[in-house]
Symmetry: C2
Subunit: 528 residues, 2 copies
């Protein structure tokens, strides 16, 4: 993973000149005056952990080799991958770097690390792929270690009768899929962060993948969890469903490292699909397309992938750069939907045929497989594009929410308006794009992408727009996050969404499991 950007550095590519020109013409984007600070030029504070603490940590993981205090290891575990995170590291800001990176290899080693940290009053930030975009790795505490789970990357068990697998938390998406594929199975969880994010992170942050219409969200795939806490172990999941009290799995899912460290996840798996097919449909308007998606989500047949871009995103995604301006002025070219089908050949064919009839009835026109295959091919590429945009002096960020179907139109307008008005008012009119990428019988997600010129201080420039979007989400009846999580960035709005008494109940849980408040302090729950 690129330390100050996304993914495999070999895959980075600059923005084509035509796009850069267009950004200049449309949004007033100017080349950035500064280049990112190099790794060797970062000025880290000296590590503060005492020799005794370092020794206890080394004992906990068996050897000092797995307790890293070198500058590069520490920098590689700073914050996550939100645009503000990238802007700060590109500017050389390494104020909240961990004191050490500790790499345990087992549940027992995690427990030992937590005991050592409790003994020395050092905070702990569980670290999987480091892909949080909501400040989930930015604790409100000066002295902390990053607990990197990469060594816990085994498939512990696969039960082909029950179709369950037990995965260690450090498995990245492709690693987990490869291990399962060797035995004929798939998890079916493909978020945009798939190539880098980990099983533990999927669980801790309630991830949802691009094929959620068919395979479900990650929290729906989880059948059991093991949680290591400073006070001991919690194990959940003796049956797929139970009436034995509250569902403790759903208390651990979404806990974002604040309650403990997830050390194994039992998931449902499915046979590898015989076939995968994606295609494009076009609707006259976003509302018409959304109605078609709702019809499929409620009455079926359910495609495996189901997504719909609004007019602006359709335009930007489809048009050649030199046509964008003209088409924008012209009022757009409709809205592109992508439908995907994965499964047996027979099932895929039947669902595709029946869904096509419904989509036609709802006003859709089949564009063909090209837009679908293009989407599938580029599904993990957007974060690379963001790096190129930042290099070119543009600002680009995403945010997302969900609501019941009847609230979706108002929510869409409210968030778009908040972003547009705030950034326009600040002198950088944005391009705001949106898509629906996760559908349910009773509602859907909305995922917004914002591109504008960078302000003088890009993080400070963005913050009021993000806050205005958060306010709009709450006011219009949405949830503060559908699949990115809470972290520190959404925490204040999360507290309002959940309400003070519910938050206090969760704080009571945290106080029991983490009495010293060492686990991801300030993430998810307020510390004061």
């Amino acid at each position: 993973m690129l330390w100050n950007g996304w993914g495999d550095p070999a895959k980075a590519a600059p923005l084509p000149d035509a796009v850069a020109g267009l950004l200049h013409d449309l949004l007033g984007v100017r080349p950035s005056p500064s280049t990112p600070v190099a790794l060797k030029d970062l000025e880290l504070s000296d590590p503060t952990l005492t020799p005794a603490a370092l020794k206890d940590l080394a004992d906990a993981v068996g050897t000092a080799d797995h307790v890293r205090t070198d500058a590069e290891s520490r920098v590689r575990h700073i914050r996550g991958k939100s645009t503000p995170d990238l802007l700060r590291i590109r500017a050389g800001d390494v104020t909240d770097v961990p004191q050490a990176v500790v790499l345990p290899a087992s549940h027992e080693e995690v427990l030992a690390v937590l005991r050592a940290c409790a003994a020395h009053a050092v905070a702990v930030v569980p670290f999987g792929g480091g892909t949080s975009v909501v400040g989930g790795l930015a604790p409100e505490r000066g002295e902390f270690i990053a607990l990197d789970l990469r060594r816990m990357d085994a498939l512990l068990d696969l039960d082909p009768v029950s179709r369950t697998a037990v995965l260690q938390p450090g498995l990245r998406g492709p690693q987990a899929e490869a291990l399962l594929a060797a035995q004929g199975f798939t998890l079916g969880h493909f978020p945009q962060s798939f190539e880098w994010a980990t099983v533990g992170g999927f669980a801790a942050a309630r991830s949802s993948g691009q094929a959620s219409a068919g395979y479900g969200r990650f929290d729906e795939m989880v059948l059991g969890l093991t949680l290591a806490t400073p006070e001991g172990t919690i194990e959940t999941g003796r049956a797929p469903r139970s009436a034995a009290g509250p569902d403790l799995r759903q208390l651990v899912l979404g806990s974002e490292g604040a309650f403990g460290v997830i050390t194994s996840v039992t998931v449902r798996v499915r046979p590898q699909p015989e076939q995968r097919l994606y295609e494009g449909w076009r609707f006259a308007t976003f509302a018409e397309g959304a109605a078609a998606l709702r019809r499929l989500a409620q009455d079926g047949p359910r495609p495996t992938v189901l997504r719909l871009s609004d007019e602006t995103e359709t335009l930007v995604g489809l048009a050649q750069p030199d046509a964008i301006g003209a088409a924008l002025a012209d009022g757009g070219t409709g809205c592109l939907a992508v439908t995907g089908y994965e499964g047996t050949s027979a099932d895929t064919a039947r669902r595709r045929e029946e869904a096509a009839a419904v989509l036609r009835e709802c006003g859709g026109t089949l564009v063909g497989i090209e837009p679908g295959e293009r989407w599938a091919h580029g599904r993990y590429e957007a974060p690379y594009l963001r790096d190129a945009l930042l290099d070119a002096g543009a600002f680009a960020e995403t945010l997302e929410t969900a609501a019941f179907w009847s609230r979706i139109p108002e929510l869409y307008t409210a968030v778009r308006t908040a972003l547009t008005d705030t950034l326009t008012g600040a002198g950088t009119p944005p391009l705001v794009m949106c898509h629906i990428s996760h559908v349910y019988e009773n509602g859907a997600s909305l995922y917004f992408t914002v591109v504008s010129a960078q302000g003088e201080d890009p993080v400070a420039h963005w913050t009021p727009a993000k806050h205005a979007a958060n306010e709009a989400v709450l006011a219009a009846g949405g949830t503060i996050s559908h699949h990115h999580g809470v972290g520190t960035d959404h925490r204040d709005w999360y507290v309002r969404e959940a309400g003070p008494l519910a938050v206090d109940a969760l704080r009571a849980v945290k106080a029991r499991l983490d009495p010293a408040g060492l686990l991801n302090p300030g993430v998810l729950l307020p510390t004061d």
Copy 2:
């Protein structure tokens, strides 16, 4: 509801003489020497609530008419409907009767009642249909009120676009269905207690209905909840799914009145089905039938109802009384499965045809619609039969569990053996029947029915068998309850299943929401 038995007294019917004779011949059942104690002969202790407490309760619900202290009201709110509950009340045991029955009409009135109870240190048992079979209404506290929610029986909102409905907790199953049907919708939740149990109870105890294969469990239908606690209100559910922290709905679901009183439930609803069709299939063995159910649960198509009786239950359910003995001796007549399809005519026809092909491939033989329709007709009748069995001097009780598919054979054998060995050892060899009635991709439920002669002291006679079954469930990897809940009866095994740290985390939640420990003390969570 019959105060010392089940349901509508007009529907009660004695056991046919032939069945009584058979029970005598097979199981040694003898007519009970005693008749149930009459309502007028029960000896209740005098109410202990102070005039000040009664006044504050009356103020909370607006009038003293909704605070009832007469003997019949109190007796009608004692315990639930487990067989031990019925045996105790039939024997005249009214030791743990509530001091008063309070009937609030709104969320605000519930809050006011909780405040009044806190002020006077009186415990509160939320009461819906009173159908708990696990001691969910038997607090470990002498002085308590029953909070009867029957007056909160409105459909508060129906959103046909999102297909959601907001229901008050006191709605009984048929009331909720009638209100939804008037607008073209159904909830699709049909547990055996359907006719009497309430929406609030379905949520509090994680109920699962007989059509769960098609409509899902109740906890899967719930999109939002309002909880009144002594410390204030929690409201959940702004979107069908969210990544904003742990799923608080799943913390309230299954909380069995220990965290607060559920005052509204937002559920997903579906269009009324055009068609309902149930039919019977026969398999040579329980294992063969279970494999067929697993195939449908994992690869589809999914019927709306899917259940399978083991050899003994099939025999008892199908044979004429005078043929049972002979057939039992003869090794049985295979296993009956019931498949049901509800939905549009086209969808029902397609699923039925495709499922039939799968069931044939798995060794099943179509028996026809008669067994299916007979099952559908009698689906709510079993509790009436239990009353008749008790009247005839027999003992009859049910218990249930769930596990992953690969554990099901061992779990089935372990529980059956535990029940048979314990009761046979005590001199009352039982008939143990079992069915699978809830299937998931990754596992299934097992529901056992036990019939035997009553021991000298029937409750004391049954207790060791029930405990042996609980031990067998835990040892064989099952959950202590799939859909009956924890109550007081399963609590000690629940604590072992969840583990001490998880239970402590839940107790921390309770301490925050109910600091005085007034809500259903001892239900779900230990009080000490």
